[in-house]
């Protein structure tokens, strides 16, 4: 069993990367790997609650599902605060269940403890 970290920088819908990350994370989790996802820059919008896309899969729900499966999904506090997702005890009221706003140092920790790192970005 290994540890995989995925870094995202795009918001939902604008690119395929949120959905691709979901597919990779889900496959890795099903094979009992540990999976971290770090939401950076625009990607802090991925877990916003209340998304209702008419033509795409709901990114918020996909990532809530990953969190339920045990994937650690954490967002950059600088990016999230700038964009109006205020960290209140590490939890944004705007977010779906299970996603935390933590610290950029957590990204460094994720990198340190990971066997593999995947960056998906435009």
């Amino acid at each position: 069993m290994g540890t995989l970290t995925i870094i995202l920088t795009d918001g939902p819908y604008i690119s395929q990367y949120a959905e691709m990350a979901y597919k990779i994370a889900k496959a890795a989790k099903a094979k009992a790997h540990r999976v971290n996802i770090f939401l950076y820059l625009d990607a802090v919008a991925i877990p916003k609650a209340g998304q209702n896309p008419a033509f795409f899969a709901n990114a918020g729900e996909l990532f809530a599902e990953l969190a339920r499966l045990g994937v650690k999904v954490e967002a950059c506090p600088r990016c999230a605060t700038a964009r109006g997702y205020a960290p209140e005890g590490g939890k944004s009221e705007d977010y779906v269940e299970g996603i935390k706003i933590t610290s950029l140092y957590r990204l460094a920790e994720m990198l340190e403890e990971s066997d593999r790192v995947v960056t998906l970005t435009r």
Binding site: Y17, M20, K23, I24, A27, A28, K31, V117, V118
Partner: protein, 112 residues
């Protein structure tokens, strides 16, 4: 084993960098997802094109890597109207295989 997950079109600068890294990796395995599947279009030579490809030195993916070492995502091919046409393997379990290969002992994953 070096795994390259390529998600960008052949004209993207990151694709060009990816191909240069590929060229110096003997044991490369290439996974094509998203716009990366556009790299299966055409062949090394374009018969009767208006002009030659802008940079002759840039070899395309299918020239650099043998077909059995290229895997492409079926839904991404279908959406874009592209046939793998013997240039790549199109597994039913693309992401499962990607995860198995990249998490395998001793492999590395590069994403472009």
């Amino acid at each position: 084993m070096r795994i390259f997950l390529l998600t960008k079109t052949p004209q993207n600068e990151r694709t060009k960098l990816c191909l240069r890294l590929l060229a110096s990796s003997e044991d490369a395995l290439v996974y094509l997802a998203g716009d990366g599947v556009y790299n299966l279009l055409g062949r090394g030579e374009e018969p009767g094109g208006i002009r030659q490809a802008a940079n002759q030195a840039d070899k395309s993916l299918t020239v650099l890597v043998p077909r059995h070492r290229i895997l492409a995502s079926r839904e991404d091919l279908e959406a874009r109207g592209i046939s793998a046409d013997g240039k790549a393997t199109v597994p039913a379990d693309f992401y499962d295989r990607l995860v198995d290969d990249m998490m395998r002992e001793g492999s590395r994953i590069y994403t472009f």
